[in-house]
């Protein structure tokens, strides 16, 4: 009994998302015999890893009360840069990857600086970066895909360790690191603090500018990791890669129970959110549902997830008798 309660406490809001994931899995298992096979499950993990990895970074940003719309463009630009360095310049694969990731981090830092020093609202700053990075990606590649990536690089996307795809392992590692950062380090704890009450954080002497910038740098870095995996899997880096990616990433975080008004959320929720999206896409593909209808269904799932969250929050606030904070939450 005690253990169940503890588990429930530690999972908190994520319990809902987890239940949703299991339920979806069960439905898909009944709906199609192709769903519950090792190959297919591994396939889902591989597909979900792209969104999941970027969502880990996005979780930090959203917990601070911000948003990053530029992850899709950053994914594209960093992967094109890396591909260019490998293919056109013939540089060492790992040096190219390293520099590509650095580029992603720098784009994130630029976001952070614009947001904290100008200061621009995160929505505007990253909306601008979304255009700039995407444009630069087109300029760099002249709109043509870069093919013929080295075999050792392709391992990032297609490699297997035993039955498990390499991207899935990378995803797990990144979530372990993110969990540690968010729960055990100052960066994470201050992210909650400044998302919950920025004024209080400033008055407490927290260097909010520094920690916000770190958080955007992290998102840029994680988005470019997704970029590497994507181009490695497709064996091509393109300037159109990751178009609309930012919305999938934000959706994963939101389905996972992180509040867009900041201050609350858990990293594990975003992983579950990404997996939910992966399971739905995969299941609908297996059921031969057209991609047009898939968009409709994914949209409905986002609405459902947030509605469940809001209603649950409302009822727990009612019990506490502090409805006003709920209204305050609605307003922001």
């Amino acid at each position: 009994m005690n253990i169940i309660k503890k588990l429930k406490d530690s999972l908190g809001k994520e319990l809902g998302a987890l239940t949703g994931l299991i339920l979806l899995g069960a439905i898909m298992t009944f709906a199609t015999p192709y769903f519950l096979t090792l190959t297919n499950l591994m396939n889902i993990l591989r597909q979900s890893s792209l969104i999941a990895i970027a969502a880990a970074g996005m979780t930090f940003v959203i917990i601070t009360g911000g948003i990053d719309l530029s992850v899709g463009s950053v994914l594209s630009l960093s992967s094109c840069l890396t591909a260019g360095m490998m293919v056109s310049l013939g540089w060492n694969v790992w040096l190219a990857v390293f520099l590509g990731l650095i580029a992603g981090g720098i784009l994130g830092i630029v976001n952070g600086v614009l947001i904290t020093r100008v200061p621009l609202p995160p929505f505007i700053s990253t909306l601008g970066m979304m255009g700039v990075a995407r444009g630069l990606s087109f300029v760099y590649t002249d709109g043509a895909p870069i093919y013929g990536l080295p075999e050792s690089f392709k391992y990032l996307g297609a490699g297997m360790i035993g039955p498990i795809p390499f991207p899935a392992i990378l995803m797990v590692i990144i979530y372990l690191i993110s969990y540690f950062l968010l729960n055990k380090t100052k960066v994470g704890r201050y992210a909650y603090a400044l998302g919950g009450n920025e004024e209080a954080a400033i008055l407490s002497g927290i260097n909010t500018k520094k920690y916000k910038t770190i958080v955007y740098a992290l998102t840029g870095l994680f988005a470019s990791i997704s970029g590497m995996i994507l181009s490695a899997r497709l064996d091509a880096a393109t300037s159109v890669a990751g178009d609309g990616f930012e919305l999938d990433v934000i959706a994963a975080v939101v389905i996972g129970g992180t509040s867009l008004s900041g201050g609350r959320g858990k990293i594990i929720g975003s992983l579950i959110g990404a997996l939910i999206m992966g399971v739905v896409r995969n299941g609908l593909n297996l059921l031969l549902v057209s991609s047009h209808w898939q968009r409709v269904i994914l949209g409905l799932i986002i609405l459902l997830a947030v509605t469940v969250d809001v209603v649950r929050k409302q009822s727990s606030e009612d019990q506490d008798g502090t409805l006003s904070s709920f209204f305050a939450g609605l307003k922001s």
Binding site: G196, N197, I206
Partner: protein, 500 residues
């Protein structure tokens, strides 16, 4: 004893308004000093300068014999100057321990939080305040008074030598306040100097050693609390004799304007009937939860009654919505000016005309000049203190914000005014001006009804008093002959004239 802190010749201005002018203040270790003044007198500004949140234009701060220049919040904290703000500045989602150590979390290695150490230290600080709470739980789970103690613990945890408390009791009950005072006396024994900002004179005389009074940004007096009585401090605060705390009562009652017959709303109130007449102020008293605001909001049309009738000038307005009622001259002024009454980021003009844009429009287009004329006119009628009509309302003091709120509703030319706690949280001077305005409106033929939780205000301002208890009207008294005890008898449910 040696001075711990001395501030000399402090001046500060905003938006061209002089908020502080040549103010001096000092404190010794173990001293509890009251800082008094009406809203807008400059108390908060002074405290914000002391804690490095604002920089003074002139003057110097000497702390433990050392002159502090370009003080910022972090340095002030490190020196040991801590403030507990009126509005709690904590993060509800974060644990109690983390809130206490926010900005200074102990680290294991670089960047890694040492939770064990932090919890141990947090418990230690809370113990100084005789508080035994689970420091791992999110702060939001605690009650308001406990949250406030956590704030004080936070201030103490940085080795505070000076603790500033800004209206610490405004959201506490009497017994919670007592716990706070016990803690303050404990800290006083430890040699901590405390600045205590409060509107409640009773508390000042209960706990403070000394006082400083500010008026309109100027230092007007200080001394030992033992040497003065409450009236002396009030006189210094308002700068005039309080020969008459309330305006004269009305002399005659005009014709009936608003009639409410047996209105009920499930779980809120039942069978409420009353009349409000021209040239009359009716006070509605009741304890919290008596259903006063709910009943008045229903009269105004925010909600519709389940049964009963509401008539304005013999016209049935029971089914009216708020817009229709405003157009017919019935208005309701909310008790919550910040959340429900004003657009805090908009300027004075825009706020005043917000309830009726028709009168400042031509051909459906808002005319800037008309906004200025009408905005300025009503803000001045209310005697509001401001630097510019273009300044945002949030830059005004509470009392002046309340006047802008009133100005906004006067601009729609109402006949019946229902006001919910019109003077809550505002200073004595602004209160008197609002009372005077209400009486003038009434004398000019308006019907005024107000809700208040303050007995002296109910007795002093009203001509007639209505009392509610648990959703029912239980008494109606003539304000000239009623006493506080009598009103309380009804409000607490021990007396009921309308048993049914």
């Amino acid at each position: 004893m040696d001075k711990l802190l001395e501030m000399k010749g402090i001046s500060k201005s905003f938006y061209g308004t002089q908020a502080l002018k040549d103010v001096n203040i000092k404190i010794e270790p173990g001293e509890i000093q009251a800082v008094c003044g009406e809203n807008g007198a400059g108390k908060s500004t002074l405290m914000n300068i002391m804690t490095g949140i604002l920089q003074p234009n002139e003057g110097e701060i000497i702390f433990e014999g050392e002159k502090l220049t370009n003080l910022d919040p972090r340095t002030a904290q490190e020196k040991g100057i801590s403030i507990v703000h009126q509005e709690l500045s904590l993060c509800p989602e974060v644990s109690v321990a983390e809130n206490i150590f926010m900005g200074r979390v102990p680290e294991k290695k670089r960047g890694m939080v040492n939770f064990k150490e932090m919890r141990k230290e947090a418990e230690k600080v809370l113990k100084r305040l005789n508080l035994d709470i689970d420091v791992k739980q999110p702060l939001g789970k605690l009650g308001i008074s406990e949250q406030q103690m956590v704030e004080i613990a936070k201030a103490l945890s940085i080795n505070a030598k000076i603790l500033i408390l800004d209206e610490p009791t405004s959201s506490l009950t009497e017994s919670e306040s007592q716990i706070l005072f016990d803690n303050l006396l404990r800290l006083k024994k430890e040699g901590i100097a405390i600045f205590f900002i409060s509107h409640r004179l009773k508390e000042i005389f209960q706990i403070c050693d000394s006082f400083t009074v500010l008026r309109d940004g100027v230092h007007v007096g200080d001394g030992r609390v033992a040497d003065v009585d409450p009236d002396d401090i009030v006189r210094m605060m308002v700068g005039r004799e309080l020969d008459q705390a309330y305006p004269d009562k009305g002399t005659e009652v005009g014709q009936n304007i608003l009639t409410v017959e047996n209105i009920s709303r499930k779980d809120e109130f039942e069978n409420i009937s009353f009349e409000v007449n021209e040239k009359e102020i009716v006070g509605l008293f009741g304890l919290i939860g008596a259903g006063r605001s709910e009943a008045m909001q229903t009269v105004f049309g925010i909600n519709q009654p389940d049964s009963g009738k509401i008539k304005l000038f013999d016209k049935d307005i029971t089914a009216n919505n708020t817009r229709e009622n405003i157009d017919q001259g019935l208005i309701y002024i909310t008790e919550d000016r910040k959340e429900q009454g004003l657009f805090l980021d908009m300027d004075l003009n825009a706020n005043v005309v917000a309830a009726d844009l028709e009168q400042v429009s031509e051909n459906s287009l808002v005319k800037k000049k008309k906004v200025k004329d009408i905005g300025g006119k009503f803000v001045d009628i209310m005697n509001t203190k401001y630097a510019s009509l273009d300044q945002p309302v949030k830059s005004l003091s509470g009392g002046n914000q309340q006047k802008v709120l009133l100005a906004k509703w006067l601009a729609v030319d109402p006949r019946v005014l229902i006001l919910d706690e019109p003077t809550r949280g505002i200073d004595v001077g602004a209160k008197f001006e609002i009372h005077t305005t209400l009486r003038e409106l009434s004398n000019n033929g308006h019907a005024v009804m107000f809700i208040s939780s303050e007995l002296p205000e109910i007795l002093g301002l009203s001509d007639r008093i209505l009392i509610m208890h648990q959703g029912k009207l239980v008494g109606e008294l003539d304000a000239d002959t009623a006493t506080e005890e009598e009103v309380m008898m009804y409000a607490s449910g021990r007396k009921n004239d309308f048993e049914n």
